[in-house]
């Protein structure tokens, strides 16, 4: 048994595997299969100040080795999270990452302030949701706006702050540096790539939102590249995500420079994916004489 513990941005994770925001609800839905406490952490569903209804359906479209989604941050609002979901998760011996996704800088600041007074272990600031009219990717595709919102949220909380970055940019490295400069404790990447599918029978987009976020194995090589670039450009830790579906993918992502990893789409295909990845990491470490998973972080040697 290798040691899978990771200290990420000052937070102790028993292992580096984290279901991504929006993929795992608040940790209740898969308890029928295995206890959520097996996982290192959970990034909960993106939370807004008030209840949000999300986009009209269809909200999902299948693609080659991937999927598009346009949920649009449907959630019960931060009060429901703090009163109902967080207390439940705090009984589970798991790092709780509160994902906040306000439509304005002020809303994000308010959300951070409210979370700051809670038991949540970490805040993930989502500045890259491709499926909302206000906020979302609008914050995350320009350095100045990414910096401004990070500054505002930073001022409202002393909790470890992770900023979730959009891959739909010319230089994700520049955005990462901008949020690092404003005091972000970590960055998580990549959020989804903006995509579209059309039903050629009806000549209508499959998603009612016309476009949506691409995730799944299809985007994995783009995610590995961006994680590698960012991990080599900033000094804060990186949480890597984007298309991870097995232990080998997770190890590859960590070798690229990720200290922790998130997965989403893979869980819809295989609900056991998170635990299989944890077991697979353990097995791989043992077979390769790796005592601590931290040994492989950023271990890739470029040519």
């Amino acid at each position: 048994m290798a040691d899978l513990k990771v200290n990420f941005a000052g937070v102790e994770f028993k292992n580096p595997v984290i279901p991504a925001s929006g993929a795992y609800g608040y940790g209740r839905e898969y308890e029928d299969l295995y206890p959520v406490s097996l996982l290192g952490g959970i990034s909960v569903k993106g939370t807004t100040l008030n209840k949000k209804d999300g986009n009209p359906p269809p909200r999902i479209a299948e693609t080659y080795a991937g999927m598009l989604n346009s949920v649009g941050l449907q959630n019960g609002g931060v009060k429901k999270f703090l009163n109902t979901e967080l207390p439940y998760l705090k009984t589970k011996d798991i790092v709780v990452i509160s994902n906040i996704a306000g439509a304005t800088v002020e809303e994000c600041r308010e959300l951070a302030a409210l979370i700051d007074n809670s038991d949540a272990d970490m805040i993930e600031l989502n500045i890259s949701c491709p499926n909302v009219k206000q906020g979302g990717a609008a914050f995350g595709t320009k350095c100045d706006s990414a910096a401004a919102i990070t500054r505002a949220v930073r001022s409202a909380t002393t909790k470890p702050l992770m900023v979730k970055l959009s891959p739909n940019v010319t230089s994700i490295v520049d955005i990462a540096k901008a949020v690092e400069a404003e005091g972000a404790d970590a960055v998580s990447l990549i959020n989804t790539l903006l995509g579209m599918r059309i039903d050629i029978k009806t000549k209508r987009p499959i998603l009612k939102n016309n476009v949506g976020g691409l995730s799944g194995p299809a985007v994995f090589p783009v995610a590995v590249r961006m994680v590698w670039q960012v991990a080599n450009a900033v000094s804060i830790p990186v949480c890597g995500m984007g298309g991870i579906s097995c232990a080998e993918d997770a190890i590859e992502m960590m070798m690229a420079g990720a200290q922790t990893i998130q997965l989403g789409a893979a869980i819809f295909n295989n609900p056991y994916a998170p635990v299989e990845i944890i077991e697979g990491m353990n097995k791989w470490c043992d077979e390769n004489g790796v005592r601590s998973i931290t040994e492989i972080i950023g271990a890739v040697k470029p040519w």
């Binding site: 029928d32 986009n55 999902i60 819809f268």
Partner: protein
């Protein structure tokens, strides 16, 4: 409570063009399955699972039946599963139909591939159930023998009149209700049909449950993609077919 596993397909039949009938041996699933629930089936090489309604449940034999239509490459892949092979499914999922106490009368309405879930629910009512099912034409008709075998009264409609009466299930339903009002109406099929059925049920003051469909992701209520607009206490919001449904009370659904 649901399970995830790979279970042997013990029987496989093609019941109509592009429509397959699988019997799956899955004791742990059959034990807890309720009519109206669905199974979420993996299609090898495809990212997303396909939700398929449970057609019938045999708790003694520990089997369930699914009857599904090949609509694309994913369901085609599932239809390639051979007798004896394993099918990867998460099941049983969702909320099923409400079953009234013995002696109550039900009308079950199935439109096309919406017909299969009516088998298990109609079985609960035996001769107290009237099953109205509608299809494009004779070549698409399925499951009539199953309904008769379990004692249901059956009314068959086809759009082109090549089998049963020519016309829509709604016409048949209205004639039915003129004769006698049932205690409950169950319906599954195209949303236009469901809307019409719900209106008729309301007009006649009969409680009605409908089974809805939407493009689905996780199937267990985590990803929130399979949204459907419902109304409760005058407030409209998006519920989710996989967890809050697929069965909803007619008055909740906003068509």
């Amino acid at each position: 409570m649901y399970k995830h596993g790979k279970y042997p397909v013990t029987e496989k039949k093609a019941v109509a063009k592009g429509i397959f009938d699988f019997t799956i041996s899955c004791k742990e699933v059959a034990e807890i399955a309720q009519c109206g629930q669905f199974v979420h089936v993996a299609a090898e090489g495809f990212m997303l699972r396909r939700p398929i309604s449970i057609c019938d449940i045999d708790k003694e034999k520990g089997t369930i039946r699914i009857v599904f239509e090949v609509r694309g490459k994913g369901t085609e892949k599932i239809s390639d599963i051979k007798k004896g092979d394993l099918i990867d499914m998460i099941a049983p999922l969702g909320k099923g139909f409400k079953i009234l106490e013995k002696g109550k009368k039900a009308v079950c309405i199935g439109g096309g591939i919406g017909t299969p879930p009516m088998v298990a629910v109609a079985k609960e009512y035996g001769e107290n159930a009237t099953v109205i099912s509608g299809f494009r034409s004779a070549s698409a008709v399925i499951l009539q023998e199953d309904f008769k075998a379990q004692g249901n009264n059956t009314i068959l409609c086809t759009d082109d009149g090549t089998a049963g009466m020519k016309g829509f299930v709604t016409t048949a339903l209205e004639e039915c209700l003129d004769k006698e009002k049932p205690d409950i109406i169950y319906a599954c099929g195209p949303s236009a049909m469901l809307k019409a059925v719900v209106d008729i049920a309301k007009k006649n003051g009969v409680y009605c449950q409908v089974s809805l469909e939407e493009r689905m992701g996780c199937g267990v209520g985590a990803c929130l993609v399979c949204a459907c607009k419902v109304v409760k206490d005058g407030e409209e919001f998006y519920a989710h077919v996989c967890k809050d449904g697929p069965v909803f009370s007619a008055e909740e659904v906003v068509f």
